[in-house]
């Protein structure tokens, strides 16, 4: 039971944060889109709240490091693998119009067929990738 309550509380907090962003700014909490809108040129007045959201996420990391450092973990992999993962996540999330937050939480929460399809797809390829890396190639 204990093992379920904390993750559930985390999910509820994420849902409340997404609803709060919608209520105040009218926007979906899709983090890949928010991050792209912060770093890529040509978004104008929309950039300020996006940059603030990203800053809030970074601030949350500092809070977590202070209060529950056990919740953080450093990814361990070769630089080449890290770069490949980052490129795929960045390019793929833009091409597919969203990531775990925009499709997986908000999109499914508002019962969008596109988000259901996208989430099923990325869950499937992620599970397959972990299977190949861990059990076929015998990596981490």
């Amino acid at each position: 039971m204990d093992g379920i309550l904390v993750p559930l509380a985390g999910g509820v907090t994420i849902g409340v944060a997404s609803a709060l962003l919608l209520l105040t700014t009218g926007k979906m909490a899709g983090i890949s889109g928010i991050f792209a809108g912060t770093i890529l040129p040509g978004t104008g007045s929309e950039r300020a709240w996006r940059a603030a959201f990203v800053a809030g996420l970074v601030g949350a990391g500092l809070l977590i490091a202070a209060w529950m450092p056990e919740a953080l973990g450093k990814p361990s992999a070769s630089p080449g693998l890290v770069v490949a993962a980052g490129l795929l996540v960045g390019f793929g999330s833009r091409l597919g119009c969203g990531c775990t937050s925009g499709h997986g939480i908000c999109g499914i929460g508002r019962i969008s067929p596109r988000s259901l399809a996208a989430t099923a797809t990325f869950m499937a390829t992620a599970v397959l990738t972990v299977f190949v890396v861990r059990h076929v190639l015998g990596g981490n």
């Binding site: 962003l21 209520l23 105040t24 973990g73 450093k74 993962a85 499937a124």
Partner: protein, 152 residues
């Protein structure tokens, strides 16, 4: 100013939720994605909690004539499930499965996760820039075709 403060607070709360949910530890995420190993179902509850709360609040918020600090709601309008959506999601999933990091948790870890997280974020930004460049050239080519062969 109010949208900036709203964004900041929502980001902070979202990030704390990711931490509570264990999404900020890539090993935990990989454990969830590893069906053939010692499967860790915890992230199912994170997703369930997030989806459940958002699904309950979304219709209530949408009943309002508009958001508190902006003129109108800005929701996705695309309906078509096409190759771009599924291909993008497929690539995204491969990248997620390689390292256990998706954009939110990577940003939360930016200041505390060490050099690999920063390298990941740099590459993620480059991937996004690459997509923007490809998109731009595609739009440019379509416009050029239109100009050269307006009847086609």
């Amino acid at each position: 100013m109010r949208t900036i403060l709203s964004g900041l607070f929502a980001g902070l709360l979202f990030g704390v939720g990711l931490g509570l949910g264990g999404m900020t530890d890539p090993a935990n995420v990989l454990g969830f994605l590893d069906f053939a190993g010692a499967w860790n179902p915890n992230l199912l509850f994170v997703m369930g909690g997030g989806v459940g709360v958002f699904a309950a609040l979304f219709p209530l918020i949408r009943k309002r004539t508009g958001p508190l600090f902006a003129p109108s709601f800005d929701l996705p309008t695309a309906r078509r499930i096409d190759g771009r959506l599924l291909g993008g999601a497929a690539l995204f999933g491969i990248g997620w499965g390689l390292l256990g990091l998706c954009p939110g948790p990577a940003i939360v870890n930016a200041a505390v996760g060490g050099p690999n997280v920063l390298l990941f974020l740099g590459a993620m930004g480059a991937g996004m820039g690459l997509h923007a460049a490809v998109q731009k050239s595609r739009v440019g080519r379509a416009a050029a075709r239109e100009l050269l062969a307006p009847d086609a």
